[in-house]
Structures are given as structure tokens and as C-alpha cells.
């Protein structure tokens, strides 16, 4: 009975979580240009359109470029900071950690408006790279958190042993610390990448009037003319996201990354 009830509860929540994805997937296979569900006919036409229609393709490329570069910049900001906080006794540097976590904790519209006023005042409004910096700062929290966790899991006696054997800081970092921290770098990058790919408001406020990323394009399509292409894009994005996290789970320890203590059961 107890087992049955808990299974039932999990199933109900599972249905709630899966329902939108099922609908979007169904719509994306429609044969005609409408958003009927259950789908009428079966066609992969809308998936092809993402890559054949120049506007959708441009939005796709813009989104992927933004996600690739901003996630890289976020890691480049987070890695030295997390290393410094782990390596040195420097209470004052905690301020930067707090700053790194703040944008993600506040309502996103704050960061978005901050960047809008900032780029407008400095005269760079509309430049494509402004969105890269905006997303990097907005999502720096994710690599910062995974890397802080990663450093805390390194056994300090390892680095001590290396130092005793005569390795300097640089060598220790390259030969001991970096290999141990690499999975956390990858997962931090992946988190920032996936969230940047799907982010709307910060991208919209920084470059929305100049170019369209995919979420902006989908929202505009939602307002000014439905097409199953937007459903196809959504399916594509969910698939990519699930694949990325699936890979992290396959090659890393996802439960630990999400806060569980023990490594193995």
C-alpha cells in the first residue's frame, strides 16, 4: 500500500512534468501549418525548416554562438576565483564570491535592466558581444558553484605531497589540481551553456532589437503568427539539454554534484 501510494505520487508528478513536452513534441510533427494536438498527419518538415529557413537558422546560430562564448567566459571568470579562494586565506575575496552568486539569486529582470542602462550609457547598446558579457556575468554563478564544490573535494595531502617533491604552484596546478577539477569545469560549462541557450530576458534587453536568439524568435512567433517550427525548436532544445545532462550523469557523479554526500551506494 505504502509502496503503491508513493509510486502513484511519483507517477502523477511525472505526468505533470512530462505533459508539456509531450504536447510540444506532438505539435512539432503536424503535417499542416497549425498547432493541432493530437497531431494531424506526420511530418518532419518543421524540423527541416529550422535549418532551411534563413531566419530560424540565423536565430539558431546566434543562440549557439552566444551560449558557447558566454559559458566559456563564465568559466574563465569562475575558475581563477574559485582556485584563489581554495588556495589562499583571503576572507576579503569572499566578496567576489558573493558578487558571483548575486546575479543568479536576484530576479533576472534586475540584471537585464542593469545591463540595458549600462550599455545604453556607455554607447555599446546593440553590439553582439554585449550579450556575451551579460550572459557570462548572469550565469557565472553556475561554474562558480560547481568549481567551489570541486575544489573542496580535493584531498589537500595530494597537493602537499606534490609540493614536498619540489613542484611549484604552477606545476601542482597543471599536474594534480587540473585533472581532478576538470569534471567540475565541464559540468559548470554545461550548466551555463544550457541555461544561456534558453535565456530570454537578459538577451532581449541587451540585443533583442538588433538580432534574435532562438527564445526571442520563439516568443515573437508566439505573438505574431504560430508555426509548428517553434515546437520543433523546443523539442530540439529539450533533446540537446537532456543529452548534455545525461552525459554529465554518465561520466560524472550527478547526485554528488547536486549535493548528495556519498559517492557510491
Amino acid at each position: 500500500m505504502e509502496r503503491f501510494l508513493s509510486r502513484l505520487y511519483l507517477a502523477l508528478v511525472g505526468i505533470f512534468l512530462a505533459a508539456p513536452i509531450v504536447v510540444v513534441t506532438g505539435v512539432s510533427f503536424n503535417e499542416k501549418q497549425n498547432l493541432a494536438f493530437p497531431p494531424q498527419g506526420f511530418s518532419l518538415h518543421w524540423f527541416a525548416q529550422i535549418f532551411s529557413d534563413p531566419e530560424w537558422l540565423r536565430a539558431l546560430i546566434a543562440s549557439v554562438l552566444l551560449a558557447v562564448t558566454s559559458a566559456a567566459l563564465a568559466v574563465v571568470i569562475a575558475l581563477p576565483l574559485a582556485w584563489f579562494l581554495w588556495r589562499r586565506v583571503a576572507p576579503w575575496a569572499q566578496v567576489f564570491q558573493l558578487l558571483g552568486v548575486a546575479p543568479f539569486t536576484l530576479p533576472p529582470v534586475i540584471t537585464a535592466l542593469g545591463f540595458l542602462t549600462f550599455w545604453a550609457t556607455s554607447g555599446f547598446y546593440g553590439q553582439p558581444w554585449t550579450a556575451v558579457i551579460a550572459h557570462a556575468i548572469f550565469f557565472v554563478t553556475l561554474p562558480l558553484v560547481t568549481l567551489t564544490l570541486g575544489f573542496s573535494s580535493i584531498d589537500r595531502s595530494l597537493t602537499e605531497a606534490a609540493a614536498t617533491m619540489g613542484a611549484d604552484d604552477r606545476t601542482v596546478f597543471r599536474t594534480v589540481v587540473l585533472p581532478l577539477i576538470l569534471p567540475y569545469v565541464v559540468s559548470g560549462y554545461a550548466f551555463a551553456f544550457v541555461l544561456s541557450l534558453n535565456e530570454y530576458i537578459v538577451a532581449y534587453m541587451t540585443i533583442g532589437f538588433v538580432r534574435e536568439t532562438l527564445p526571442i524568435k520563439v516568443f515573437n512567433a508566439l505573438r505574431y503568427g504560430y508555426t509548428p517550427t517553434m515546437a520543433a525548436v523546443s523539442v530540439l532544445f529539450v533533446a540537446v539539454t537532456a543529452a548534455v545532462f545525461g552525459l554529465i550523469a554518465r561520466f560524472g557523479d550527478l547526485p554528488r554534484l547536486m549535493g548528495a554526500m556519498s559517492t557510491k551506494d
Binding site: F84, P107, T117, L197, L254
Partner: protein, 283 residues
């Protein structure tokens, strides 16, 4: 290698780039926004440096008051419903096998990264008259005719709970999974039913986490921008919608900035309140 204080320029080098980036691109934009909130608006969408409180004075209008009250009400509703759904769910996941946990976590993270736009689109389809769940109810004979559930408050609430729940689960997960299972075992041995053990042992042990999750979901919901527009009527618009509307379409940057500053203050006040409450509970 022991931790030691950094000495000299070279040892401080690693912190310089992150420090500069965060200062220039977070502190300065934030400061710019605060400054603009005191600027005077000119006709034609521009603004000039000044120190006026007029932008803040506009908060006192009934229109703004209504939007603020609705935003807070919606955020509270979303936070409470998310927590009610997420707590038993996370508890059950945390008790399951490692492999099952991984599958649920991947699913949750995938949903978490879904764009608000896509969530809005999916739920507007699910709740529509032509393609929505009411058709299913009609087919089951539970309803006479299909009905449009969107736009409406229920639709906004559903969409936002859908969006906030994975966050809530991921905040709850670490404490739930680390919770000593002997606690509930003892309660069961002493004759408590599973439900009673859950309410009298598990929940009290996690009260700090529960409050933290509630506040986090609240702040998250307070910042929602797209769903109230896609799933609601203009009367369901939140402060975030109003801020964007003023900044981009009404070209009233100073007023938008003033509202944003206000939103930050509300969020910060709530965060410190949580920390205070958490400390008090621990003591």
C-alpha cells in the same frame, strides 16, 4: 600545500580578472541603474542626470499598488504550491536507488533549463480549447464540452509552479538525501505510521531548508516575466512585466529603474528575513 595568505602582486594575479569583470559588469551596471532611477525623464524617451524622487513617488498610485500586491500574491501562491508538491516528491526520490535518482535529476535539470517561452507555449496549448486537456475530460465523459482555461489565473499559476518546482526540488534534494534514515526507522519502530513519521520527524528536521526553499521559490516567482504575459490577462501582469514594458516600450527608463531598485530591496529584505529566521530556528 597549506592555505596561506597571498603575498605580492603575482600571487594576487588570479583574483584580478574575475574581480575586475564582476566589478565592471555587475557593480557598475547595477550602480548605473540605481543612478538612472533618480534621473529626470525628458519627452521623447531620453533622460537627463538629476536627482528627483518623482520616479519613486509614482509607486503611490493605485495602479502600481495593485500590480505590486498582485505580484506578491502570485509569488506567495507559486512558492506555497511548489513546496507542497516538491517536498513529498523530493523525499521519495531521495529514498530511491541511485540509478533512479540520476534519471529523475536529469529529467528535472532538463525541465529547469526549458525556456520560459517554451513552457508558456506548451501550457497555452495544453490549456487551450482546441488541443487542451479538457478534450481528454470530455472524452472520459467528465465534461460536457471542451473549454479554454487560458488566459486565466489558474493557467499562470500552473505554468509558474511548473517552472519553479524543479528549482524547489533541487534545493531540497541535498538535505533530503543526507537526512539520516535511522531517524525515520526509529520513529517506525516506536509505532509511528510512515505518514506520521514524515510529518513529525522528517519535516521538523528540515525546517530551515523548507523555509529557504519557500523564499527561493518566492523570489524566483517574483521575477517571472513571460508566463504572466503568455498565460494571463493584463490584470495578471507582474512587476517584472511592468518594468520591461516601461523600459522598452514606454521608453521611461528612470521609472523602470526605480521599480527595479524597489524589487531588489524587497528580495533582499526577504533573503535576510529567511537567514534571520533560519538562525533563530537553529538556536
Amino acid at each position: 600545500m597549506r592555505r596561506e595568505p597571498a603575498r605580492g602582486f603575482v600571487q594576487h594575479l588570479p583574483v584580478i580578472f574575475p574581480g575586475l569583470m564582476l566589478t565592471i559588469f555587475f557593480i557598475v551596471p547595477f550602480g548605473t541603474m540605481v543612478a538612472v532611477s533618480f534621473f529626470r525623464r525628458q519627452q521623447g524617451g531620453f533622460y537627463v542626470p538629476d536627482f528627483v524622487l518623482a520616479n519613486y513617488a509614482r509607486f503611490l498610485t493605485p495602479f502600481f499598488g495593485n500590480v505590486l500586491i498582485f505580484s506578491l500574491y502570485l509569488a506567495i501562491a507559486v512558492a506555497v504550491v511548489s513546496l507542497i508538491v516538491a517536498v513529498p516528491f523530493t523525499y521519495l526520490i531521495a529514498r530511491s536507488r541511485r540509478q533512479t535518482q540520476v534519471i529523475w535529476l536529469v529529467a528535472l535539470l532538463s525541465i529547469l533549463s526549458l525556456s520560459e517561452v517554451i513552457i508558456g507555449f506548451a501550457w497555452s496549448t495544453l490549456l487551450s480549447r482546441t488541443a487542451g486537456i479538457t478534450n481528454l475530460l470530455v472524452w472520459l465523459g467528465l465534461m460536457q464540452a471542451p473549454q479554454a482555461l487560458v488566459p486565466g489565473f489558474g493557467a499562470v499559476l500552473t505554468g509558474m509552479v511548473y517552472q519553479a518546482m524543479p528549482y524547489a526540488v533541487l534545493v531540497l534534494y541535498p538535505s533530503m538525501v543526507r537526512l539520516d534514515p535511522t531517524l525515520t526507522e526509529v520513529a517506525r519502530t516506536l509505532g509511528a505510521s510512515p505518514l506520521k513519521a514524515f510529518f513529525t520527524v522528517v519535516l521538523p528536521a528540515l525546517r530551515t531548508t523548507l523555509i529557504a526553499t519557500l523564499i527561493m521559490a518566492f523570489i524566483f516567482a517574483l521575477g517571472s516575466y513571460l508566463l504572466p504575459q503568455i498565460l494571463g490577462r493584463p490584470s495578471h501582469w507582474t512587476l517584472s512585466v511592468l518594468i520591461t514594458d516601461q523600459a522598452l516600450y514606454q521608453s521611461n527608463m528612470p521609472f523602470a529603474a526605480a521599480m527595479a531598485v524597489f524589487l531588489v530591496l524587497v528580495s533582499l529584505a526577504l533573503v535576510s528575513l529567511t537567514m534571520f529566521a533560519g538562525k533563530k530556528l537553529e538556536a
